[in-house]
């Protein structure tokens, strides 16, 4: 395609027919597309064809939509913005499906308009991190941020617009984000949802209008609350507002004692003539969603609170759970009733004596107070002995997720690198940590007997490597006097030479500050003797590492499709090498596929939490990255894995790969770099080699 002549209509028709074949029919041919593309310059045609090919890998229909929209799009956008446009469409497709993805291509006007103002616009992604921290600082309750066309909150998630470009500078647009976030936070904090808003509005002729008005009244009330607690913010919000006139009837809402009930009461007076406010950034109320979430939270927190009280009782009674005798009861009293912000500072008392609730209980109490304004009497009864305690079971048992209906709760999300798009697919992989089903206890013993002479040898080698105390002589500073040096110095001095100041010995311990993570391939292809060799290798390795004293962890990885990436815990960093670990090593069994990118990202995350000067991520693998669908096999998977390894490298981790795949030469150097891998071509020698390789690598 080096020629600079534009492709003719016929040539384009052929190419498009080939690229978009699966979604063309006798009624929908490539001809109209070709006609539109033909007059374009050659480099633009190439650009379009190049991207059609890439989008094809995601979805043919989406590629068709792109082809249809491309001529118009490229007329309005430069190449860089056009790429951003395509990526946005594909991201939307990944997230919300074909319809929404195509919509981005169709509404090119929208995107052009937004990209025109791109210099001033602030997008949700730009501000999430800061606002997340901001709102976490503001509230005791943990809040999540997400996007929605109109800002609202369900009391646990704050929904913010995807981008804001209302004002001429980035600074000001960020400020609007901050204001919206604060208003939504205030809705939860100052109890907007503590009354049944739907019922309050239902009585009116137009409930929608009533809700809007109520929102206006609430905003007035909340702004007054904000100006009391966050005066700096309130001052700047004042500047933002064009008009300052507040309906005189609403003055009472500014009082510090005003609650949602006052707003509801006022609604009937102003319903007839007041206009709802018209800020473009004003949050809306979604009472139904908020009520549902609030109800669930109340139930959960009541339970949690009562269980926590029961635990306090148990601790007090010396670990014996017993029904509280009559009269032994919890009570609450505001710690500092004079302070205006006294919410949350309640003193918990047991039998009249103050008890210090643990941190999480304080948080629960604070959250209950936010919802109810007080902690009701019935909450103060400790959960009984026989009572059903919900929190005895982990709420997010990852294994259960697959038993019921599919959902993504309790899982980790990881981006995946799409080398064609040259962008990440966001939160593309869903990864779960699972436990290995323990195998037989005898496996480790059998292995140790089988390799007994080698194990002895191994232990001896590694013992030699262990960091020992070394005595450094002639130091200028140390624990003790170096007598030899002193005598020499004394002699020097007598003979008129300069006196050395290096007269001490210092004990120096060459400490090994190393953490190593082993990532074991548990894909279906390891079935049989590869799996046996892997397990034996791990046994030998553990023996060696125990001698050496390095910190190590072992995790297996497998999975099938991006929605089901699995990491198997075999040994965590903080676990000792005990029988449980041994049976888990024995229990390593072949599973499904190898989506390596997500596994590497997860283990990198675990490894970054460990403090060590040197961090190693060693992969035991039997072949290329591979997965059931999404074209993970081949270039896509290799590039994603490579990208994940680059990320790991960036966080200070040294990746290394031990493989048994004889064709590894073709792809491993590209993924791990020319020296960071090794091939053990005889599987039976794997158990002996792995420790050997580790010795070379880590000493």
């Amino acid at each position: 395609m080096a020629s600079s002549f534009p492709l003719t209509e016929a040539e384009l028709d052929d190419l498009l027919d080939y690229l978009l074949g699966p979604v063309l029919s006798s009624r929908r041919t490539a001809a109209p597309l070709a006609r539109l593309l033909a007059p374009m310059e050659r480099h633009l045609q190439d650009f379009v064809l190049h991207w059609i090919e890439i989008i094809d890998r995601t979805n043919y229909e989406l590629a068709y939509q792109f082809a249809a929209a491309a001529p118009q799009g490229l007329a309005q956008l430069d190449i860089a913005s056009a790429e951003a446009w395509i990526i946005e469409a594909m991201d939307t497709y990944d997230r919300e499906g074909l319809y929404r993805g195509s919509a981005v291509f169709k509404n090119i006007g929208d995107f052009a308009e937004r990209s025109g103002e791109a210099t001033e616009a602030v997008s949700f992604a730009d501000v999430t991190q800061v606002l997340q921290l901001f709102v976490c600082g503001l509230s005791g309750r943990r809040l999540v941020l997400d996007t929605a066309p109109r800002p609202y909150t369900d009391t646990e998630t704050l929904f913010l617009p995807p981008r804001i470009a209302l004002l001429p500078s980035r600074e000001e647009n960020f400020f609007i984000y901050k204001v919206i976030t604060s208003l939504l936070w205030a809705q939860g904090r100052f109890g907007t949802f503590n009354a049944d808003l739907e019922a309050a509005c239902a009585a009116y002729e137009d409930p929608g209008h009533a809700l809007q008005l109520l929102n206006t009244l609430e905003t007035i009330r909340l702004e007054a609350c904000i100006s009391r607690t966050l005066p700096g913010l309130a001052r700047e919000m004042q500047k933002l507002r064009e008009t300052n006139t507040i309906d005189a009837r609403c003055a009472s809402l500014a009082a510090s004692a005003a609650t949602i009930d006052d707003s509801i009461a006022l609604l009937s007076q102003v319903y007839a003539d007041m206009k709802p406010m018209q800020y473009s950034y004003a949050p809306v109320l979604q009472p139904a969603q908020a009520a549902a979430i609030r109800k669930a939270r109340l139930a959960k927190e009541k339970n949690d609170f009562q269980s926590a009280l029961a635990q306090l009782l148990e601790e007090k009674n010396g670990g014996v759970a017993s029904q509280p005798p009559a009269g032994e009861r919890f009570s609450l009293k505001p710690a500092d009733p004079s302070a205006e912000n006294s919410s949350g500072s309640y003193e918990l008392k047991l039998d009249g004596k103050p008890v210090a609730p643990p941190g999480n209980v304080t948080q629960i109490m604070d959250s209950i107070l936010q919802d109810l304004g007080e902690i009701p009497e019935e909450y103060l009864v400790a959960a009984g002995d026989g009572g059903y305690r919900q929190n005895q079971r982990s709420e997010h048992d990852p294994a259960d997720v697959w038993k019921g209906t599919y959902h993504e709760e309790g899982a980790f999300f990881y981006n995946e690198w799409d080398s064609k798009r040259r962008h990440y697919r966001k939160n593309w992989c869903v990864l779960r940590e699972l436990d290995v089903h323990p195998g037989s206890t005898g496996f480790v013993e059998t292995t140790l007997v089988k390799y007994a002479p080698q194990v002895t040898q191994l232990k001896r080698t590694f013992e030699l490597l262990r960091g020992e105390d070394r005595l450094l002589k002639k130091q200028s500073y140390g624990d003790d006097i170096d007598l030899d040096a002193v005598i020499a110095a004394y002699a020097d001095m007598k003979s008129g030479m300069e006196l050395s100041d290096r007269l001490f010995v210092k004990r120096h311990k060459a400490e090994r500050d190393l953490a190593v993570m082993f990532m074991v391939d548990m894909s279906g292809s390891t079935k049989g003797w590869i799996n046996d060799a892997e397990r034996e290798a791990l046994v030998m390795l553990c023996e060696a590492l125990e001698v050496l004293g390095d910190r190590y962890a072992i995790y297996g990885f497998s999975g099938i499709t991006r929605k089901r990436c699995e990491i198997f815990r075999i040994k965590r960093f903080d676990e000792i090498y005990d029988d449980a670990v041994k049976t888990r090593i024995a229990g390593i069994a072949p599973q499904d596929y190898t989506r390596m990118g997500a596994a590497i990202r997860h283990l990198t995350m675990l490894l970054t939490r460990v403090e060590a000067r040197t961090k190693l991520l060693i992969t035991l693998s039997d072949g290329k990255p591979d997965d059931y669908s999404d074209n993970y096999r081949g270039e896509y998977g290799i590039e994603d894995t490579r990208q994940a390894l680059i990320e790991a490298h960036r966080s200070g981790i040294r990746p290394f790969c031990i493989t048994i795949d004889r064709e590894a030469r073709d792809y491993l150097p590209h993924m791990y770099g020319p020296v960071n891998w090794t091939l053990v071509d005889d599987v039976t020698r794997l158990p002996l080699k792995v420790s050997d390789i580790y010795r070379r690598l880590a000493t």
Binding site: L133, P231, G232, L233, A339, E611
Partner: protein, 286 residues
């Protein structure tokens, strides 16, 4: 040699170019240090001192552990010898070593030995930072034997009843690698410190810095916001010490937002997004 220091609140009248030189073992704190009790820690310390049991102060940084020690030193009228522990601190740094002077070797006491000799309060600050073999030398001193063996010198120092060993330790941010050994920690009475309650903290800030009540109120709210962020990107929330710093700047006429940014945000983190978030929180308040 470890840094040894003895802190004095007294105003010195010496020439402005020369700091006052003090001998830690003979210097007593003359002026009562400002200290607001959080609970019954004073009574507890008094009782431990009378029973000759060493004391471990636990708590986050900047919540008043060192100030408490100064206060107790003043109250008990004993010299306070502080050793800031670091990972190169050896046993001989604490106990003492031979040095050479005039063709002779001369034994020089370390701060711990000096504190034992003068019956003072030896305060090992951030003790987990010291190497594990170093912390072991305090064991015979910290149980009912109360002796400091000085092997190289061939002496055993029997501590007088006025001597007390104390150390501080921050359980919050220490990594798993730096935990206090059970054999060490079980020799001590532990007093837990935490940030004071809002009303008390306000009083402390106002007394220490002379800042007005409104400003102090807002600072405390900011502190609570940063403490909410602990574990969400911050290792620690703003300590009382940081609030005092910010308040001092404000009392000198620095604009509150600038003061908070310099004294609190920048002191807490280097992460640009976290800095921005704390600045936004501060600007929401002031």
């Amino acid at each position: 040699m470890p840094r040894t220091s003895s802190t004095s609140r007294s105003v010195t009248k010496a020439s402005p170019l020369h700091a006052r030189v003090l001998k830690p073992e003979s210097h007593l704190i003359e002026k009562e240090p400002y200290y607001e009790p959080l609970g019954d820690e004073i009574a507890l310390f008094d009782a431990a001192y009378a029973s000759q049991i060493p004391v471990l102060l636990k708590g986050p940084t900047g919540c008043g552990k060192t100030r408490f020690m100064e206060y107790m030193a003043w109250r008990l009228k004993r010299p306070l010898i502080t050793v800031s522990c670091h990972d190169d601190l050896t046993a001989s740094d604490l106990v003492g070593r031979y040095l050479i002077t005039n063709n002779e070797t001369v034994w020089v006491d370390g701060p711990l030995a000096r504190a034992v000799r003068c019956g003072g309060i030896c305060y090992l600050d951030e003790v987990v930072e010291a190497r594990k073999d170093t912390t072991v030398v305090i064991h015979p001193l910290a149980d009912d034997r109360r002796i400091l063996p000085m092997e190289k010198h061939g002496e055993l120092l029997q501590a007088p009843k006025e001597f007390v060993l104390t150390m501080s330790y921050n359980p919050g941010y220490q990594s798993v690698l730096k935990e206090l050994k059970q054999s060490t920690r079980q020799r001590f009475i532990a007093i837990e410190f935490n940030y004071p309650g809002a009303a008390l903290e306000k009083k402390i800030i106002m007394t220490e810095t002379g800042l007005d009540e409104g400003g102090a109120d807002k600072l405390i709210r900011l502190a609570h916001m940063t403490r909410n962020l602990k574990g969400n990107g911050l290792d620690e929330g703003a300590s009382t010490r940081l609030l005092v710093h910010a308040a001092k700047l404000m009392a000198r006429g620095i604009a509150p937002r600038t003061a908070c940014s310099g004294a609190i945000a920048e002191a807490l983190t280097d992460d640009p997004e976290m800095l921005r978030a704390i600045d936004e929180l501060a600007s929401s308040l002031f």
